[in-house]
Symmetry: C2
Subunit: 335 residues, 2 copies
């Protein structure tokens, strides 16, 4: 029986992460993880003439690198699970088009990396696929255009705002190989605390992160200390504080083991990124560049990776709706 | 070994469709399937004050009915696979919010019903979930606002255009029960013939439908006559002709067994719907209202259900990109 607790799975045959890659933009390439990225683009355009195509090309580069690192041809990957932040997932559709791999398009806002890894893991663990791929991306300029203001307008950003990461992370899962494997997942629900400030996404997503982490601890009967790290996607400094407070109310203190990809990816002091980084590329490139290498080396034996998403569109925001959150957790262990 | 051919799965333990529902709008309720829908809303508003909320409420009604028809509480459904056509899936996020079921958000344009059923089937067949739900919706007014022109503008529609269906179909999958089961799937790739006319979606999607149907016949080593019906999602009259021609070039004549949900749902003569219906509610409500009852009664023993999607956004369209297609096939059999 692989179903564990209320909303988790513990895989009988845990799928292995056999290859990964991280492709990042200029600003990310000037941050703390600069040396760890596989590829950094010097002007964020990736050779294209509009931001959406730039994001597609970045995704394509990431997937090609991950395949290369895994020693696989695209035709050996049976299913691809991918998504991005843009309306109708155009970065993914056009980015993955020429790879000719059957595609499941996903949308979980910035939680999509967790969603994609969860489903790719189910595909491999269920015997439905020898190899499955997961990919997500975000791009500062295409996201600003989609959700915020024209770049040329140069609007001020409140201190609670996060900076959308230009980056794409790709992962290849297989039945064996590599030194990291996905041993379990906890799939998140839509959690709505009624927060309406779309420029404070940390506050919008922290309740969902709390819900999923709490449920993971319950479902697997674990304590925070059973993880070397609990790593959220892009709560940033503001969301991190809220998450710690919310989990304390439920009896868990995770401050000692918690880390947030949105905090790791930029240097707040020198890069003017306010609350931190965000976007579904944020957790993806941090996983590939920083987290997986540490798991593979055995520095961390067991990590709970929890990408977090804010479920809004400009339409829902302008119609006065709240911004609910969702978070999908993946348990990754050294092997 | 469940992997079959290049991109298909034949399930060892085929999941059963134990309950379904169809909720439709006014125009759909005046069409040929009027008597078969579970619920018809007389003004397309479903009691809400904007179209996006109307679509969310319609989805919510559909899921509640499907649960009721399956004799289940929401808490018994471990995973929900859902999506819609709106940017960032706001119809689904807000529509499913109060059900408190772990959610995998999906985007495959109008092919999403096939994508959702495929993944829900994998979740149940893989032993990851006793019950899984699949839901999709589209709404004429929210889709026109998203993709086309303001309703008040009253623009003319070319004859190749389709009419977005206001409807939502929900399906509950389980390990046993009911008289229909999903015995296999063929997952589609992004297929791009370079068509750029977003008002001729049949032409955009027909190549993808051809690719997936052809691959299904190859992977399962079947002839079109091995299916009682091959049913595409929303190619409409224009796309149907193209599909038949493309498959003939590959050596298959499906004209005798082919049916299209977009053609079935409206009366072209009296309802002024040009090439037919479309939207990811189109195939979903037709499956629930027309196709499943015939499979359950044994009138049809084996059906290939192939929802088709056009992968565009207003941004990609305005930037001069083509409109690629994708199609996800599900084999449904009487039991």
């Amino acid at each position: 029986k692989q179903m564990t607790g209320k909303q988790s799975i513990q895989f009988d045959r845990a799928p292995h992460i056999i290859g990964s890659s991280s492709v990042a933009g200029k600003k990310e390439g000037e941050g703390p993880l600069a040396d760890a990225f596989d590829l950094i683009c010097s002007d964020d355009r990736f050779g294209e003439d509009n931001w959406e195509k730039s994001e597609s090309t970045m995704q394509n580069e990431a997937m090609k690198l991950a395949l290369q690192h895994s020693g696989l041809f695209p035709s050996q990957v049976r299913y691809l699970f991918g998504g991005d932040l843009l309306g109708q997932l155009i970065a993914t559709s056009f980015g993955m088009e020429n790879l000719d791999i059957p595609l499941f398009g996903l949308y979980g806002a910035c939680s999509t990396c967790g969603e994609a890894l969860s489903l790719a893991a189910m595909a491999v663990a269920g015997g439905f696929s020898d190899y499955a791929a997961a990919i997500t991306s975000s791009h500062f300029a295409s996201a600003e255009k989609q959700f915020r203001f024209p770049l040329g307008y140069g609007n001020q950003r409140p201190l609670a705002a996060t900076w959308t990461v230009t980056g794409s992370g790709a992962f290849i899962l297989g039945q064996k190989g590599g030194h990291a494997r996905i041993t379990g997942i906890t799939t998140g629900k839509v959690v709505d605390f009624g927060v309406k400030d779309s420029l404070n996404m940390g506050a919008c997503m922290a309740p969902a992160a709390c819900d999923t982490i709490y449920q993971n601890l319950m479902d697997f009967n674990r304590q925070p200390s059973d993880y070397d790290k609990i790593i959220t996607g892009d709560l940033g400094y503001v969301g991190q504080t809220i998450l710690h407070d919310l989990l304390k109310e439920k009896g868990f203190d995770i401050a000692g083991v918690h880390m947030d990809c949105g905090i790791e990816i930029y240097d707040r002091e020198t890069q003017d990124t306010h609350s931190g980084g965000s976007g579904c590329g944020c957790s993806a490139v941090t996983l590939a560049a920083l987290i997986l290498p540490k798991i593979c080396k055995g520095v961390w034996k067991r990590v709970l990776f929890v990408p977090t998403g804010a479920l809004l569109s400009t339409v829902s925001f302008n119609e006065g709706q709240s911004v609910p959150g969702i978070a999908h957790a993946v348990v990754i262990e050294h092997c």
